[in-house]
Every structure is written in structure tokens, then in C-alpha cells.
């Protein structure tokens, strides 16, 4: 298992990539997050950090320190926070829900711990849906792109299966393919290997690594796995709602 280099078509021209390296993709400034029930507790405290283009960043920290909470805010799904958030140099704090939906669709690819595929659809359709939603290319083109994404993960033979007919590891590979569908600015993952056995977790881990190396894909991945973290460009360490090291 691994990338089939002959199939790779780097979506980013290397020159452009190099020129753009250093541009901030994601920036959080003084983000505070409170939960009000059962009692008011502050889960994120003055979180401030930046991710630049092409970086492969992991987030580590003890259970309950606020990693998932942070990721939901960064992915624009949670808008109930203090502080400000820039995505692609655009301030997204206080933007309308519809606008945030568009940003999620176009610029963010999300991979969950539990593979969250749409069971009503085939594998190919699952991968295509973000593209169909974006609605910038014809259906044939999108089918072709989706197939290419599946090939990266060696899942092309399963394209016509229904999502629920796959194994856990296969589902997660499809989920990553889906996250890549619109060539997003950044991929965010919340313990994407957390629910997989060693073998599958290695496969998915390798996928991320190769995405970083071959495609220079910007990624922000929450993980408990020190080995995984060690393979990334940068580790953001959290404790009790603070970033203690980045």
C-alpha cells in the first residue's frame, strides 16, 4: 500500500507552492471557549497560533484538554467562541452561517475519528458529494476526479460499493479521499486513526505523510499517537485549554 507515483498529479504546481509557502492558511487569535452547562467552564484559554501553507501539524494533549473543541472552532462548525479566526487571510469570525458553509465546502476537508460516510450512497458518490455541492465542474469531470482520489488510496475497485459495505480502514481511506475532493486549503482530522487497529492506522498514517510530502497538503491532525506526531512538521501541545508548546 502506498502512493502510486505514476498516478500522482500534483494539484499544486511546485513553483507556485514554493512561492506561496509561508502564507498563513489558518490563524487563531486569543480564542476562548466556554461551556455553560452544567457549570460555566472555560475549555480553551487564549489559544493563539498560525499554520502556514504546506505545513503538516499535529495537536497533542491529554484527554479532555480541549483538542476536539478547538478543531470544531477552526473548522467553522462551532461559532460560539471569543477571539478571532482567519482562514486564508479572511476573518471568518461572525460571518454568516451560509458563508461559513461555503468556506467549509471549498477550503476545508474534515476527517473524523468515526468514518462518517453517507451510507445511502456509493463510495464514489460519497467522494463526489463535496464537488457536486461546490458545483464548479460537470458531473463527468467530478466522477473522474473522485476516481483519481480513490486511486491514490487504492480504493478504486470499491468505487461502486455502498459505503456500509466497507471495512473500517477502507471507510477511513474513503473519508480522506472525500476530504481531498475539492483540493482544500487545509485538511483537519480529529484522531483519524483513533478508531483503527495498528495495521489500518499505519495505512492511514502513511497516507497523511505522503499527502504532506508529495502534495504539500496543509494538514492539522489531532492525535494521541506519539509516533504519528513525530512524523509531522510541527507538534502543538495542549494542556488544560492552553497551548503550552508549538
Amino acid at each position: 500500500m502506498g502512493l502510486k507515483t505514476h498516478q500522482l498529479k500534483n494539484p499544486y504546481n511546485d513553483n507556485i507552492f514554493i512561492r506561496m509557502k509561508g502564507k498563513p492558511v489558518l490563524e487563531a487569535k486569543g480564542v476562548n471557549k466556554f461551556f455553560h452547562s452544567p457549570v460555566k467552564t472555560q475549555v480553551l484559554k487564549e489559544v493563539t497560533f498560525q499554520i502556514t501553507r504546506g505545513e503538516f501539524v499535529s495537536v497533542m494533549g491529554k484527554s479532555g484538554c480541549g483538542k476536539s473543541t478547538l478543531l470544531y472552532i477552526l473548522s467553522t462548525m462551532d461559532t460560539d467562541y471569543e477571539g478571532s479566526l482567519w482562514i486564508d487571510e479572511e476573518l471568518v469570525t461572525e460571518k454568516s452561517p451560509n458563508h461559513l458553509s461555503k468556506i467549509r465546502n471549498q477550503k476545508i476537508g474534515f476527517v473524523f475519528q468515526f468514518h462518517y460516510l453517507l451510507n445511502e450512497f456509493s463510495v464514489l458518490e460519497n467522494v463526489m458529494i463535496p464537488g457536486l455541492k461546490l458545483d464548479q465542474k460537470s458531473r463527468q469531470e467530478l466522477e473522474h476526479i473522485a476516481m483519481e482520489k480513490l486511486k491514490i488510496f487504492d480504493m478504486q475497485d470499491h468505487a461502486l460499493k455502498k459505503a456500509y459495505q466497507l471495512s473500517g480502514g477502507q471507510k477511513q481511506r474513503v473519508a480522506v479521499a472525500r476530504a481531498l475532493m475539492n483540493d482544500p486549503l487545509i485538511i483537519m482530522g480529529d484522531e483519524p486513526t483513533g478508531n483503527l487497529d495498528k495495521k489500518n492506522s499505519d495505512i492511514v498514517f502513511n497516507i497523511f505523510k505522503e499527502l504532506a510530502e508529495e502534495f504539500h497538503q496543509t494538514m492539522l491532525i489531532v492525535t494521541h499517537d506519539p509516533e504519528f506526531a513525530a512524523g509531522t512538521d510541527r507538534i502543538i501541545e495542549m494542556e488544560d485549554g492552553y497551548i503550552i508548546n508549538q
Binding site: 445511502e120 457536486l132 455541492k133 458545483d135
Partner: protein, 419 residues
């Protein structure tokens, strides 16, 4: 954003819960079927019952009322002009029941573009002499052809041929009730005495049955000529002019207009038969109420199923939102599901409703009172199909509205965290 994707997702969700979706659609089919069949049947009956009276009733009837002369001699006396004169126990003058100058009146009416047709008539009180007893009755002298053309006279002649009335001299078509009472068979000759004392022999050439027992017990028909001869009057003697209009809504205003011009009494159909309108309206109202109740109930079925679907498909909704679908998109998906159920259910319902109408129309319905009716009447007016179709869309839309709003408000973080 393409509507195609919304429809695709809606379709996938429906297929995933095909059984429930199907049952919701059956609810709509059933209620629309009932709605259309019920309204068609009810209105068929309405038209039948109204027709009994309204088809037989002229839209405007001109006649002379027996009443006292408004110019009493005392008013002419110079001696009492300054007084307020009260006369008790006034008697009607021997004024003529006959309509004076009826030929120009009929001509004027026939030339009015609003008028469909005019039929003159004579009402004559008679006694049928049966052995030693006299039985009262009314003989209507009619213009047979006009009466048939305007008031479907032939439909109510249940025995014999109505044209014999015109072709046979001194003939009569007896009301079925009257015929039974005087025990007259077809071809018999009966004797009648008019109020003025003239005696006449009449040949029974048919029975008349309107379906209204009271009417059939007294009313009989003869040609105008026969009736004039019977009464010993001239060929210009006519007591009623019946008018049928193209649009019967105009009857009250036209009755008023011509009452002034001709100086005779005129009754319009609305005033005479106000209670029939009311009955019809109430029956229609009840059928609409029942039909709409059915639709609302099926609406709750759709509401339930969509709610259930939303609970089951929370994950799907959360993923869709996470990958960039807005609340509005999710809303559209569930509204699409609701409307699809409404459109398909409604369409099939209309079709089944039509079949049900055809079925009801075949059920034999024979009754003594309604001689022209052999099966149940059904009204296939497209109006009910259009209303049924629109209502099915409206109710399913509202049934989908609240669940869809709920789905669009789902917070993906809650769902993803909850896993």
C-alpha cells in the same frame, strides 16, 4: 447550487427508508382518493337534487297576482282627498289572471340576448270527476316543445310519449300520484270540471313523475290549446310566462327590471328557492370539511415519518453540514422529500379518485322518487381534482416544513461529539 444534488440526496434518503416513505405516500393517496371521490359524489347528488327543483323552475316567472285594486273609489272622491282613508275588508277586483298583451311581452323577452328561452303557460284549477267524488288538481297548459327544450319535460314523462300531448287533441299527461288516485290508465278518458264549471273529456296519454310526491299528486299537463278550450278562453289567454336565462345569477335584477317595464308580477328563482341554495352550500361545506380533515390527518403521517427520518439520519445531516451544506440546503432536502410524497401520493390519489368516481357511477340506484336516475350520480368536475391536487401539495409542504426546519437547525458538532 444545483437542485439535482438536493433531489438526489432526498431520493437516497427516501429509498433508505422506503417502507415508511411508501406508507406516508399511501396516506396521501388514500386521503386524496377519498377527497375527490367524496366531493364528486356529493356534488353529483347535489346537482341531482337541485336539478329536481331548479331544472323544473323557470329563472323568472311573470304572472298577474290576484290582489285588490290599489286605486279605490274613495281616493278618487274630491271630498276625501285631504284624509287618511282606511278601508277594511277589501276584496280583490275581478282582475284577470291572464297576462294582458302577452304576445309583445314574449317577443320582447325573446329578443333579449340574456334570455335562453321563453315558455308560456296556463295554470288551471280543475276537479277530476271520479264517479261521485271530485278530486282537485291543477292542469298546466304548456307549449310542449318549449317545455321540453327548457325544462326537460320529457325526462319526467315516465309512461307514454310526451309529444302525444301536442299531437292528440284533448289529451292530458297525469301526475303519477293523481293518476293513481283517480285510477286512470294510459288511454283512458277522464272527465274534469274547471273552476268556472266547464266540463271536458281528456284522454290520458302519459304519466308525469317529478320525484316530488306532493307535486305529482296534483300537477297534470295538457297543451295550451286544450287548456284554453277547457277554460273557454281565447287563444291569447296565458297566465304565466316562464323565462330561462343564460346566466341564472341575473334573475333577480332582470325580474326587477321587467316588473317595472311590463307592470306585472315577476318572481326570480333565487327568491323562490333560497332554501335549496343553502342546502347545497352546507352539503358542499361538509364534504370539503371531511376531505380536508383526511388530508390533514395524512399530513400528520408525513410529519411523523419525516421526524423519524431526521432522528435516524442525524449522522447524515451532520456530515452534510460538515462538508459544506448550509442549513438552507438541508431544509430543501427535507421539503423535497415531503413534496415528493405529496406529488406522487396526490397524483395517484387523483387517479384512484377518478376510478372510484367511475365505480360509484356504476352502482345501481333506482328509486321510485327519481325516475330518470338509474345509477348514483357523480360529478367529474375538474375543479375538485385541481383543489385536491393543490391541497395535497399544501398539506405535505406544511407537514414537511417543521421537520425540515428542525433538520436545518441540527448542530453538527453535537452529533459528531456525541458519537
Amino acid at each position: 447550487m444545483k437542485i439535482g444534488l438536493i433531489v438526489n440526496i432526498a431520493k437516497a434518503l427516501m429509498l433508505a427508508r422506503f417502507k415508511q416513505t411508501f406508507i406516508a405516500a399511501i396516506g396521501v393517496v388514500f386521503s386524496i382518493t377519498m377527497f375527490v371521490a367524496l366531493l364528486g359524489f356529493m356534488n353529483g347528488l347535489n346537482q341531482l337534487l337541485d336539478g329536481l327543483i331548479l331544472n323544473r323552475t323557470p329563472h323568472i316567472r311573470f304572472y298577474n297576482e290576484v290582489k285588490p285594486n290599489p286605486n279605490q273609489p274613495i281616493d278618487l272622491s274630491e271630498k276625501f282627498t285631504g284624509f287618511y282613508n282606511i278601508i277594511r275588508s277589501i276584496k280583490p277586483a275581478a282582475s284577470r289572471l291572464s297576462i294582458h298583451n302577452n304576445e309583445p311581452i314574449i317577443k320582447t323577452l325573446k329578443e333579449d340576448p340574456r334570455v335562453l328561452g321563453v315558455a308560456p303557460k296556463i295554470s288551471a284549477q280543475v276537479f277530476y270527476n271520479v264517479g261521485t267524488i271530485d278530486i282537485t288538481g291543477v292542469i298546466n297548459g304548456i307549449d310542449v316543445e318549449q317545455e321540453a327544450a327548457l325544462f326537460a319535460f320529457e325526462d319526467y314523462v315516465t309512461a307514454g310519449n310526451f309529444m302525444d300531448l301536442k299531437n292528440t287533441a284533448n289529451s292530458v299527461i297525469l301526475g303519477k300520484g293523481a293518476a293513481d288516485r283517480i285510477m286512470a290508465e294510459l288511454g283512458d278518458v277522464i272527465q274534469a270540471t274547471t273552476a268556472q264549471g266547464n266540463r271536458i273529456q281528456l284522454k290520458v296519454v302519459g304519466y308525469y313523475q317529478s320525484g316530488l310526491g306532493d307535486l305529482d299528486n296534483v300537477q297534470s299537463y295538457a297543451s295550451i290549446n286544450t287548456t284554453q278550450k277547457m277554460l273557454g278562453e281565447s287563444a291569447s289567454y296565458i297566465t304565466d310566462i316562464q323565462v330561462k336565462l343564460r346566466d341564472f345569477e341575473l334573475a333577480p335584477s332582470m325580474a326587477r327590471e321587467y316588473r317595472e317595464i311590463f307592470g306585472i308580477d315577476a318572481d326570480d328563482i333565487q327568491t323562490v328557492n333560497a332554501q335549496f341554495e343553502t342546502g347545497t352550500q352546507i352539503r358542499t361545506l361538509i364534504s370539503y370539511a371531511v376531505g380536508i380533515t383526511l388530508l390533514v390527518v395524512s399530513g400528520f403521517g408525513i410529519y411523523n415519518i419525516l421526524n423519524m427520518m431526521i432522528y435516524e439520519k442525524m449522522d447524515t445531516i451532520a456530515i452534510l453540514k460538515a462538508i459544506g451544506f448550509s442549513g438552507g440546503d438541508v431544509n430543501k432536502i427535507f421539503i423535497t422529500i415531503a413534496l415528493t410524497i405529496g406529488v406522487f401520493g396526490g397524483f395517484i390519489g387523483l387517479f384512484f379518485g377518478f376510478l372510484a368516481g367511475l365505480g360509484i357511477e356504476r352502482i345501481p340506484f333506482e328509486t321510485e322518487a327519481l325516475p330518470t336516475i338509474k345509477t348514483f350520480p357523480v360529478d367529474f368536475n375538474p375543479k375538485y381534482y385541481i383543489i385536491g391536487g393543490i391541497f395535497s401539495l399544501i398539506t405535505t409542504y406544511f407537514a414537511g416544513y417543521f421537520p425540515a426546519r428542525k433538520a436545518s437547525g441540527v448542530d453538527p458538532v453535537d452529533i459528531i461529539r456525541g458519537k
